[in-house]
Amino acid sequence: MNGKEFFTNRYLQLGWKFQEATPKQAIRINTTNAKGKNLIERLYANGIDLKKIPFLENGYWISNAKVSAGATAEYLLGLYSIQEAAAQIPATQFTRLSDKKVLDACAAPGGKTVQLADQMNNTGTITALDVNKHRLKALANHLERCHVSNTAVYNLDARKVPQLNLKFDRILIDAPCSGNYATDKNWFQHRTLADVERNAKLQREILTQCAACLNLDGEIIYSTCSLEPEEDELNIDWTIKHLNLQTEAVGCPGEKGVTNVFGKRLDASVEHCRRIWPGETQGFFICKLKKRGDNA
């Protein structure tokens, strides 16, 4: 059995029949910067036609473009970011972000960091970490271009976040993951189950250390662009059982988290998660976790 047969057979067992997918290009308007600037009309005048993404407040598909969306004056001025539609969802799932202490645990290249800052209207603080030093340059460029002013960036492994001696109200863990075939044409050729299991272990370590830095009543949004349940539902099932966190409903399109994974029965609350199979968007998995206060 080759890699593609192996993995697509697993997807079938999870209830989804494999199909080829080419995600549409999407942008997200940085509302803090674009307010009152008629951005959609300006882009139309430049030859870029947009179509509203129904499940995102500030997201638009690029339906037609005569010029590169990454080379307009409006892009360079930080009025919008190029961000895949499913990747725009995680940051929108937090309850109220203004004035909060936010951790972006695996931040580079910074698309979601900028999105968080925009939703916070640059209030509060974002602590953005990335273990990979050469990716910090892209993150810093992104923050500068989009006029983000509430963020501190550290070259730090998310598993070492307790070293900062900070507690957070909101934590985004857009975890390093195995990815999916929709954004990597050779995915089936170079990925193995061993990669998936190695990533799942790393993700649990990140979840553990981030949970230790979460305030009571705080929220974690955990997301991956992996379709593999080891990195998704199985990790959340483990989290519920080991880290004193509870899932909450995620408000976005997609299917409920799978609670029967290859014959293993998971905690019923895992179905609060959302699993987005590739189609118009890439594949994505999103989970909202909450640390309940004593009176909850």
């Binding site: 004056a73 603080t125 910090l136 993150l139 923050l143 500068e144 006029h147």
Partner: protein, 155 residues
């Protein structure tokens, strides 16, 4: 902070920075907000608003700083749409592309470059005294830095 204040002066602007909220990391300057100031550790890579860096004794402003200065009284030119596009592609500015001038018009002076919407695209040096009557094909403002740099950095 002196390099930043001196740079602003070159553009005919004045800037006041709270020294408690302005930090230098290596050769780079950052402006913090009060919340960040309380939690920032010394080993940060980037924080708050990046203001610019000093290299070989010369100050290189960030676009955030230029945007801040553009909101103040300063030397500014407004350019037409075509000129704005050419400017962010790294080109110099012809006299005929300038639609308005604020502040100094004198040769040798630095000026901010704004598009038709009043957004700051960068800055340059006036190399030919700006005359409202002239609409020629001569370069009037030499490009020093423009927002197209964000793309050029990536390549």
């Amino acid at each position: 902070m002196k390099p930043i204040i001196n740079f602003a002066a070159q553009l005919g602007a004045t800037i006041t920075l709270n020294p408690d909220f302005t930090v230098k990391k290596g050769n780079r300057y950052f402006l913090l907000n009060s919340n960040l100031n309380k939690v920032l550790r010394k080993d940060f890579y980037y924080a708050g608003t990046y203001l610019g860096k000093v290299k070989n004794g010369k100050f290189f402003p960030s676009f955030a700083l230029l945007t801040m200065l553009a909101k103040k009284e300063a030397n500014k030119i407004v350019v037409d749409r075509k000129t704005a596009w050419l400017f962010i592609c790294g080109r110099d500015i012809f006299q005929k592309g300038i639609t308005a001038v604020q502040g100094s018009r004198q040769k040798g002076i630095h000026t901010l470059v704004l598009n038709e919407f009043g957004e700051c695209l960068g800055f340059g040096r006036i190399i030919r005294t700006l005359n409202a009557e002239e609409k020629g094909n001569e370069v009037a403002v030499k490009n020093i830095s423009d927002v197209g740099d964000f793309l050029r950095r990536e390549t």
